[in-house]
Each structure stands twice: as structure tokens, then as C-alpha cells.
């Protein structure tokens, strides 16, 4: 089971279905986002999967107005670092929240952003 969540492919397959999965170190308790071979805190290799509820709040955000090639039609769009309630953070695209409502500590909730075969991390209103 531990190896199941250690790959990016499996993390994003789960995320596509609406489930976020972290990994917790069986030795020191460090919580991390996969994949990781060794625990960055204690260097042990003893990870177990942990479901993450998807609730969190914004740490920092920006509204991107000059987009990379292929994303011009999406701009402007907001991107934020979100600290999940369990203590780890994820970067995600902000959806369904007006730009002028964005601020640090704003509560948000995970939702998968699915485009064809691609899944990306999104956050909408809590």
C-alpha cells in the first residue's frame, strides 16, 4: 500500500477522483506530499498514506496576467499556496473566487481541475 501513493501518477489519479493523499513518516511523524524516497526530517524510509481532507487557507497568492504559451486564453487566473488543515501545503489554481476577495488566511477547499488526460490542483470556496 505504501508504494501505491509514492508515485505522482497515483497521487494525481486519486486527486482526479477528488481525494488528496499525503504520506506520514512512521518513525518521526513528518507529514509530506508524495513522492519522497526518504523522510527529509529523519531520513527514514517508512511512509504510510494519509488521506487529506482538502480544507485549508491561503498563505500567498497572485493573479497571473501574462501566461505561458498555450495558456493565453486562460489569463488572467489566480494561483495560491494553500496550507491544508493537516499542516502540509499545496500550490493550486483558484477557481470561483473573485480576485478582489483573495487575501491571506482565506479558507478554501480542494477540487481537481481536469483537462483531458491532465489533472491539476485547484481550490474553490470553502
Amino acid at each position: 500500500m505504501a508504494d501505491h501513493v509514492l508515485t505522482l501518477k497515483h497521487f494525481f489519479e486519486e486527486a482526479r477522483a477528488g481525494r488528496l493523499t499525503g504520506i506520514r513518516c512512521g518513525k518521526c511523524g513528518e507529514l509530506a506530499i508524495p513522492p519522497k524516497e526518504f523522510c527529509p526530517s529523519c531520513q527514514d524510509r517508512n511512509w504510510a498514506p494519509v488521506p487529506l481532507a482538502g480544507a485549508g487557507s491561503i498563505t500567498s497568492f497572485t493573479v497571473i496576467r501574462v501566461a505561458p504559451r498555450g495558456r493565453g486564453a486562460e489569463a488572467p487566473y489566480a494561483v495560491a499556496v494553500v496550507r491544508l488543515d493537516e499542516g502540509v501545503s499545496l500550490l493550486g489554481r483558484i477557481v470561483d473566487i473573485p480576485f478582489d476577495a483573495l487575501r491571506a488566511d482565506l479558507p478554501v477547499r480542494f477540487r481537481p481541475l481536469v483537462t483531458g488526460e491532465q489533472t491539476a490542483i485547484g481550490f474553490g470556496p470553502a
Partner: protein
């Protein structure tokens, strides 16, 4: 380890060029070889930096290409890629090759060409230096990375957009004194504040430009360098890394790799921040200069914005930062930037910087940051 010195420097004009990056490097390298007063065949190895050549020029295997254009095709070469810190990373390895006694004279440098491709393509290629799964996938750009840092710094310390604008104004004022700079004209705080948002709160004039250019250095062992009165000594050179992921940064208002590399290089050189007379640091965005002046120990955390506003980092100020114009005005050909900064500090410590000379400068520092703050190199230089 043997002592190592910079004995020759060369930099192309930064801006738009109709030549390949390898040609730009060859021009800078030729200037560096003449400046060092060595024959080309005296060069024993080339440490070469380039980032986007594979995408923008369909060209890899650039080390031997650069050596071939330089007319010394048989020397060993290695190409480095550490995002925007590329040629500073190459420099550190060249110093180690000489320090270890493997070679006596080594060339290091780099070049970049991106103004031959559209801006959105260049924005895409630069974003390859952030993580594909977590960052490119949500459309994070490099202005976006530093916008996240700027917002965190503003929230934590009260840093203002106007303070950031002062960094741009100061670096343009310096760039106007540098004939190699991409932008050689002054701008005002109002011009910065009224420019269009690229990634809020960063505006167009908070951002460095896309740039074509090359830079090169000739490094030598003490036995060669001490015969040359214009030699500038490497007092220390250190690299540090941080997690590649924005979501794992411990504190978005700080650049931990800068703090780690700075502590290590001050210890290596036996210096402290107050010993430094002149600085070339990585101002890819105005907030990056503010955070770097704090991380390098020139100002307490949270005071970098006020220091910029008070003029403490300008020529004639407490600690002159980016007399060349920095990445903001001199330009940022990413594979050449680190070597270009070292060329400027060498010129300053030789007392040959003309109207942008920091009077009496004896100790200089260079700081180059790669990508999403995951790579930083800091080096210290001195006379005698």
C-alpha cells in the same frame, strides 16, 4: 586548495542580437582572453552555461560548440544548467578544478539567446525551471513565483509596491552609466507604479527583461595570477539549495538557500556583511533584490524595502547594490548572468568601472539565484 583569481573578463552588449548564443559567448570569451593577456591555447578547460538552447535554438552539446567557435576545439568542456544561476554554478566548479590542481587556467562563462522567439514561448521555457507536476500544471510563471514571495513579504513586513519601485528606479539609474546595459535610461517611481500588472503585485517595470548576451571569465591558479597586478582573488564561493517545490518553502518571505550560501561563504572567506563594499545580486524582480539584501545580511529581515526607499543601496549609499544596473537594467541572459555579475565585481575591484565605480571598493560579493529559489550561489572577491 590552491588560491584562485579572476585574471580576465569579457561581456557582450546585453540586449537583442542576431547571432547564436555560441557566437555571443565567443565574442565575450575573446574579450576575456585578451583582457587576461593569455594565448587561447593556454586555456585548459571550459565550464559553459546555457539554459534554453535546446528549446529556443534546437541546440544541445553546447560546450564543444562554444570551444569550436572560440578556436580551441580540443579542450575538455562541460555544459551547466542550474536555471538562472547556471554560470555562477559553472564558476564554482571551475574554481574547484583549479583549486584541486587539475588545471592552471580555465575559462568559465555562458550565453543565452531568447529574443529570437515569441515572449509567450520564452515564458514557457523559463517556467520549465519550476516543477512540471505541481507548478507548470497550474500555470505558475516566474513573475508568479516572485509575486507569491512579494505578497508574503508585504503581509509579514508591510513592504510596499512603492518600495519595490525604488529598486527598479535605482537599477535603471545605474544602468544608464553602463554602456553594455540593455536599458540605459532613467525611469521614475510613477512609471513603475503605472506599468501593467504581470503577476499581482508585480508590474512590468518590476520585472527584468528577456535578454540575449554572453559573458566569460578567465580563472587562474595563484602561480599565474600573482604575476598580474589586475588579478582579483576568489575569497570564497558557495552553493546552496532548497526544496524545489513552492508548496514546501518554509517561509515564502525568505530565500533559505541565499541565507545558507551566504553564511557558508562569509565563514569560508573570514568576512562579515560589513566588510563588503560592492554587491552584484540577483534582482530578477524588484522584490528579489529586497529579499536578497536581507538574506545576505546587509539589512535585518523586513528592512530591505525601507533601505531601498532611503537610497542606501544606490551608488554613494551605505552598500551599493547592482552598480551595473543589475538584471533589471543591464539585462538577464540567464546562462550568462552569473559570469556577468562576476565580471562586474572584477571590474569594480580593479577600479576600472568608470562613472559607475564604487570608490575604494576592495571586497565584492556576487549572488545568483536559480529558478524558484531552489538554487543559490554566493561568492566573495578581493584585491591582494
Amino acid at each position: 586548495m590552491r588560491r584562485v583569481a579572476v585574471i580576465g573578463v569579457g561581456v557582450t552588449k546585453f540586449g537583442k542580437h542576431d547571432r547564436t548564443s555560441a557566437e555571443l559567448f565567443a565574442e565575450a570569451a575573446g574579450e576575456a582572453i585578451r583582457d587576461a593577456d593569455v594565448t587561447p591555447s593556454a586555456i585548459q578547460a571550459l565550464y559553459y552555461g546555457n539554459v534554453t538552447g535546446g528549446e529556443g535554438e534546437k541546440q544541445l552539446h553546447m560546450g564543444p560548440l562554444a570551444a569550436t567557435l572560440l578556436g580551441i576545439p580540443t579542450i575538455p568542456t562541460t555544459r551547466f544548467e542550474n536555471a538562472c544561476a547556471t554560470s555562477h554554478a559553472a564558476f564554482r566548479h571551475a574554481v574547484m578544478e583549479i583549486g584541486a590542481g587539475v588545471s592552471d587556467i580555465v575559462m568559465v562563462g555562458g550565453a543565452e539567446r531568447v529574443l529570437n522567439i515569441p515572449t509567450d514561448a520564452a515564458t514557457e521555457y523559463f517556467a520549465y525551471c519550476s516543477d512540471a507536476s505541481w507548478e507548470q500544471s497550474v500555470g505558475l510563471t516566474f513573475p508568479g513565483v516572485f509575486a507569491l514571495i512579494a505578497r508574503a513579504h508585504m503581509d509579514k513586513h508591510g513592504t510596499t509596491e512603492e518600495q519595490m519601485a525604488h529598486v527598479a528606479v535605482k537599477n535603471h539609474r545605474h544602468g544608464a552609466l553602463n554602456p553594455k546595459a540593455q536599458f540605459q535610461k532613467a525611469i521614475t517611481v510613477d512609471m513603475v507604479l503605472n506599468s501593467a500588472y504581470v503577476a499581482d503585485p508585480l508590474k512590468l517595470l518590476d520585472c527584468c527583461p528577456f535578454t540575449d548576451g554572453g559573458a566569460a571569465l578567465v580563472l587562474a591558479a595563484e602561480e599565474v595570477a600573482r604575476k598580474r597586478p589586475r588579478s582579483v582573488w576568489v575569497l570564497g564561493t558557495q552553493a546552496a539549495s532548497d526544496t524545489m517545490f513552492m508548496h514546501e518553502k518554509r517561509d515564502l518571505s525568505r530565500v533559505m538557500a541565499t541565507e545558507r550560501a551566504a553564511r557558508a561563504v562569509y565563514r569560508q572567506a573570514g568576512k562579515t556583511p560589513v566588510d563588503v563594499d560592492v554587491v552584484e545580486l540577483h534582482d530578477c524582480f524588484t522584490i528579489a533584490e529586497i529579499v536578497a539584501t536581507e538574506g545576505l545580511g546587509f539589512f535585518e529581515p523586513g528592512f530591505g524595502g525601507a533601505a531601498a526607499e532611503k537610497g542606501w543601496t544606490g551608488l554613494g549609499g551605505k552598500i551599493p547594490v547592482n552598480p551595473s544596473g543589475g538584471l533589471k537594467a543591464k539585462g538577464h541572459p540567464i546562462g550568462a548572468t552569473g559570469a556577468g555579475q562576476i565580471a562586474e565585481i572584477t571590474t569594480q575591484l580593479r577600479g576600472e568601472a568608470g562613472p559607475r565605480q564604487v570608490e575604494g571598493a576592495r571586497t565584492g560579493l556576487t549572488h545568483t539565484l536559480g529558478g524558484n529559489t531552489a538554487t543559490v550561489l554566493v561568492s566573495l572577491f578581493g584585491r591582494g
